[in-house]
Amino acid sequence: MPPVLGQEIAVGRRAAPSRVLFGPHVTHLADPHHPRALSDDHVAHLRARAAGGAGVVVTEVASVVAADHPYEDAPLAASCPAGWAAVADACRPFGTLVLAGLGHAGGQGSSAYTRGPLWAPSAVPDPASGEVPAVLPASGIAEVVAGFAAGAAAALEVGCDGVEVQAGQHALLRQFLSGLTNHRDDAYGTDRALLLVEVLTAVRAAIGPGVLGLRLTVDELAPWAGITPASARPVLERVAGLVDLVVPVRGSALTVGATRPDGHTAPGFLRDACRSLRVPGVATVLAGSVVDPSLAEDVLASGDADLVEMTRAQLADPDLVERVRAGRRVRPCVLTNQQCRVREVRNPRIGCTVAPPPVLLPRGDAPVLVVGAGPAGLEAARTLALAGAAVRLVERADAVGGLLRDVAGLPGRARFADLVAWYRAELAELGVGVELGAAAEVPSDGLVVLATGGVDRPGRGVPIAAAVRDGVAPGPVVIEDPVGDGAAVALAERLAGEGREVAVVAPGVLVGPGLARTGDLVDAQARLARAGVRRVTEASVVGFAEGAVTVADVVTGGLSSWPAAVLVDAAPRRAPAVAARPGLVVVGDAVAPRTVAEAVREGHAAARELLA
């Protein structure tokens, strides 16, 4: 039987060619000269997913009024028609439905660019910015309704199939729906769904038979005042006659990370809510870490949802639907959020940990030796083999994967094992021979990719890589973490889970500050606190002797002592010394120890460099 997710489905009066939706997300793909319009890169980004079989794509959310400017290059509906037209034209050959994302971030926006106040239902400060918004007056409400209608009309006018209205995370409409943020005593407070109904009514009037999608928070994870599945259901029933498609999502301003969480949250977490919220006549979409085609297939076959949102899965593999239709493997999303969660002030362009930016690859049948089968070497070997090279992959250990094998054993990182398994299967299919347990000499000529990884940096304690791989001796553990990514946090969690006494010493104000990027920062603090891990911040280890670590406050110089049988040093590794020569390309941690994303990217790029 062909996979359900590849089957056509009716959405309103249109038909989507598959049941997979590519949801709206921040990309920072804008042209800096036209920061609030959609760029050619936006178009290419969406076109790639349409070409790969996506049934529905939703464009990056555009603000419906200029007073809403939530991030520097946030699209503005009035500046988007040309971009929407280009997206619709690019996706039309594939039959993919194109919905224009329309929204208003309300109190979750930013005053940094407008230099005016934020506008929200009530003067409740957003937990992220702390900024107290101004109360949206009746005239402002009318402007918002008109803005949604005008944006929708413009999108349909230029060829979009419909729109998706934002009442999910970062949404004024959700703020009106929620008792957390709507304390009004006018009609929009006594009936908190009134604004949503007015907006959807106006949009429906504006788009006629076009597709009207609604992204709706159905659980704010704050049951004392927030939206719950039970309170969301009557709202959905009330607007069912207006909308064609609904995407229930999770999370509030208090729990921003809960909407697209990382690997600490099991995929498919909204499945029960989705099933309970199905309304006749409305196509319901399961969102929330749906990254495995097998889960998607099961959900669709069971009837718990009509479509699945697989945004991150299609970042990892733009051809997901086509591959599933063909019975082929899909490059797995590992749910680290390290490269794709880019709603932050530095405006990093969206990327993917496991999917390198594609390079134009020449064909070549030259023999190439790849030394090291970590992520960099695996990606290089696969890419070279796809290009026709005769690849020999040599790995010193008794299995492929490199550091990924160890990292996959840490809490929340299990999906890295899926990535290793995917590479193993791909290489087998491509006929790449893998020589394990072989310490390869780097030959003095011929084409070589050197991907042997980093080496431990001499330090005071047990290097973290060794601690993760081999475990640590009994007794209390202190981890000094000058890096602040997920590694030290995860090791601390694992050790504490084994009943060990653990402290993490960090130079900054927080432990694991790099997790802000992945959305796990606050959750990580909570997990560490619940596990009893001590967080010693703005501190640095100055001594380790006689069962104790001495720590100095980096600001005041004040000393403290922490029991420790083991000191783990989470400092980054360093690159090995490598003699450069023509034909030898060094990649990944062997250049400078960094993350999986760089390893994969450089492994991929090495193929072009060698075959050019």
Binding site: P32, H33, E72, S111, A112, Y113, R115, P117, L118, A123, P125, G130, E131, V132, P133, A134, V345, R346, N347, P348, R349, G351, G454, P482, V483, G484, P507, V509, L510, G514, L521, V522, Q525, A526, A529, R530, E538, D553, V555, T556, G558, A571, P572, R573, R574, A575, V591, A592, P593, R594, E598, R601
Partner: protein
């Protein structure tokens, strides 16, 4: 005339006075090129009388990109932007140099998606990425980059180049690591740049005088480098602090006195014969005059003082009251750190000089055709004062009514906190401006009904709002009640911070210094989260440690019981603990105060009575309200 106004020869050129606008980040670049905003921004300071402008850093390597809006000087497309800057500055008779630099390991792969190139493989403390150590060939390539960018600078008509070897710089990293490659590299860079700028161009070098950590570069290192390259340069600039490690040394907040870094230029000046530039929170004309007159430097750098008042130099040389920088760091340092365009809390036009909307802030008058209006400003805080000043400057007849017996509103109250005194300078400066412009100021004047006027500006601010859990308990009070002296908590005081700014920390320190046993408690991950972006956190932590203030994070107060015991929830674990205290002082967002006015003329709300925010919003909205009167 003081030395400050004397011309000075810098190699081939003469600078008209001793006041410099040194290099600092603005985030005004668009697509990594200088923008029209750069030209307007520097041009405004040149029009204000500065002797020399040094642009923000221009990178010599496309892969060097620690922040998004760093100009890539290697791109030939920068030349028209340089030309626009040169024209804007030269039109007013000032010199303009470009600062050239490479950030080395003090950088990120976020934008380049390439390994960071560093002096060695030691990760930078802020960016925390492992650099790829630069080979000798790599350094040689960068020498060429310096030369290429210098050629672009000259092609754009600028007067010369300054080489950044401090703050954030590969050259600093080489010196700091005591690398034998450091001096030869710097010499090669200077020779390449000299060759590009020719005999008519000015060439300066900015040396590092105090990295601010044990084993780091010190004043003697600055002197040694300056002496070693003296014959290759026309002047020496100085700096203290490392941008990614000891940033508060570079851009200190208001608690740090002017001239805190004067020891560096003093020592360098004693050792070299070329002119020496000194910097260090010189924010008033008096301080600038004294820096030069005392002999600690030949040229004085004033960054924040000229952001706050573009006319600083002329006023310093010819007399006149400047609107002073208050060292709050909220709009210049904090915003730039967040990848946003530079602004200024006391000067709403700063960072927006090129935009049409900013003309309302900048122009001497926006009132061109309409007749003057009779304006009543209700409230004498920063928003009301700014509104009164702006309206009076346009020729409107302005009366300002303040309920209390002093001007300044929340700003005056906040200035009572330790190391917050300079906030009161803004109140004083605005009040002087208002009186000079003929604003009628009425204190102790509550406003109920209004007549005989054409418009009302409502700047009534916000009132403290105690949380529901306070439950009317007499010993649960708002921070403002402590700062105004209405109550004097003692014994065990718990300061609950449900805001982000200085209110909680100021009050905690004030009480601790009076002998109370003080703890701060916040639901957030850190107490007073806004103190880090403005570089106030480090000094606060030192002072808090000095007076023994305990800090509790991740905690929410649920209830206050009689005898004063709080129920405190640790929200990460769910644990609830009883918390006894003699007094509880609360800091949190206040509630807008919007009095009912009986009037049939237009009422414009500005500042905290619209939404409680910071100084910048108050001053900006107050200033901008003038545009509304022209449409009356």
């Amino acid at each position: 005339m003081s030395v400050l106004g004397e011309p000075l020869r810098l190699g081939p050129r003469v600078v008209r006075n001793r006041i410099v606008f040194p290099a600092h980040l603005t985030n005004a670049a668009v697509a990594r090129r200088p923008s029209a905003q750069h030209a307007a921004y520097y041009g405004a300071r040149a029009a204000g009388g500065v002797g020399m402008v040094i642009t923000e850093e221009q990178s010599v390597d496309p892969a060097d990109r620690p922040y998004e809006k760093l100009v890539d000087g290697t791109d030939p497309a920068v030349v028209p932007g340089y030309r626009a800057i040169a024209d804007a500055v030269h039109a007013h008779g000032a010199l303009v140099l470009a600062q050239l630099g490479h950030n080395g390991g003090q950088s990120s792969s976020l934008y380049s998606r390439a390994p960071v190139d560093g002096a060695d493989d030691e990760p930078d403390p802020m960016f925390r990425e492992v650099p790829r150590p630069l080979s000798d060939a790599g350094l040689a390539r960068l020498v060429d980059g310096f030369g290429l960018v210098a050629e672009h600078v000259v092609a754009g008509g600028l007067d010369g180049v300054e080489i950044q070897c401090s703050q954030a710089s590969l050259i600093r990293q080489l010196f700091s690591a005591r690398s034998s490659r450091a001096l030869p590299f710097l010499v090669a860079v200077l020779r390449a740049v000299r060759s590009a700028v020719g005999p008519d161009g000015v060439l300066g070098v900015r040396v590092q005088g105090d990295e601010g950590f044990a084993g780091g570069l010190a004043t003697s290192d600055a002197v040694a480098v300056a002496v070693a390259v003296e014959t290759l340069v026309d002047y020496v600039n100085t700096a203290v602090g490392v941008a990614t490690r000891t940033l508060p040394l570079i851009e200190p907040p208001m608690g740090v006195p002017a001239g805190y870094a004067a020891h560096v230029p003093s020592a360098v000046r004693a050792a070299v014969s070329v002119p020496v530039l000194g910097v260090g929170r010189f924010t008033t004309p008096e301080q600038a005059r004294e820096a030069v007159a005392s002999g600690s430097c030949d040229l004085v750098g004033v960054v924040r003082g000229q952001i706050a008042d573009p006319g600083f130099a002329t006023k310093a040389l010819r007399g006149g009251r400047v609107r002073r920088c208050i060292g709050c760091n909220q709009e210049c340092i904090a915003r730039v750190g967040l990848n946003q365009r530079l602004g200024c809390a006391v000067n709403p036009a700063a960072g927006r000089e090129s935009s049409v909307a900013a003309n309302g802030y900048l122009a001497a008058s926006t009132r061109t055709t309409s007749p003057f209006a009779r304006v009543l400003v209700v409230g004498g805080g920063p928003a009301g004062l700014a509104a009164a000043v702006a309206a009076a400057r346009d020729g409107h007849a302005v009366t300002l009514a303040e309920r209390r017996d002093v001007l300044g509103g929340q700003l005056a109250i906040a200035s009572r906190g330790p190391e917050r005194r300079e906030l009161a300078n803004l109140v004083a400066d605005l009040a002087h401006e208002a009186r000079d412009l003929g604003v009628v100021v009425r204190l102790r004047t509550p406003v109920e009904d209004v007549h005989g006027i054409d418009a009302v500006v409502l700047a009534t601010g916000a009132r403290p709002a105690l949380p529901a859990w306070a439950g009317g308990h007499a010993r649960v009070v708002d921070v403002t009640e402590v700062l105004t002296g209405r109550v004097a908590p003692s014994g065990r005081v718990l300061v609950v911070d449900e805001g982000r700014g200085h209110a909680a920390t100021s009050t905690a320190e004030l009480l601790a210094r009076r002998g109370a046993s003080v703890a701060t408690l916040t639901p957030a991950l850190v107490v007073a989260g806004d103190l880090a972006p403005t570089l106030d956190r480090e000094r606060w932590r030192r002072r808090a440690a000095e007076v023994g203030i305990a800090e509790y994070t991740d905690r929410v107060v649920l209830a206050a019981h009689d005898g004063l015991v709080l129920d405190v929830l640790h929200h990460l674990t769910g644990e609830v603990t009883p918390w006894p205290a003699d007094w509880v002082v609360h800091a949190g967002p206040p509630t807008p105060h919007v009095p009912e006015l009986v009037t049939d003329v237009p009422v414009f709300r500005v500042g905290d009575c619209l939404a409680p925010r910071g100084i910048d919003a108050a001053v900006r909205e107050g200033t901008a309200v003038r545009e509304r009167f022209s449409r009356l």
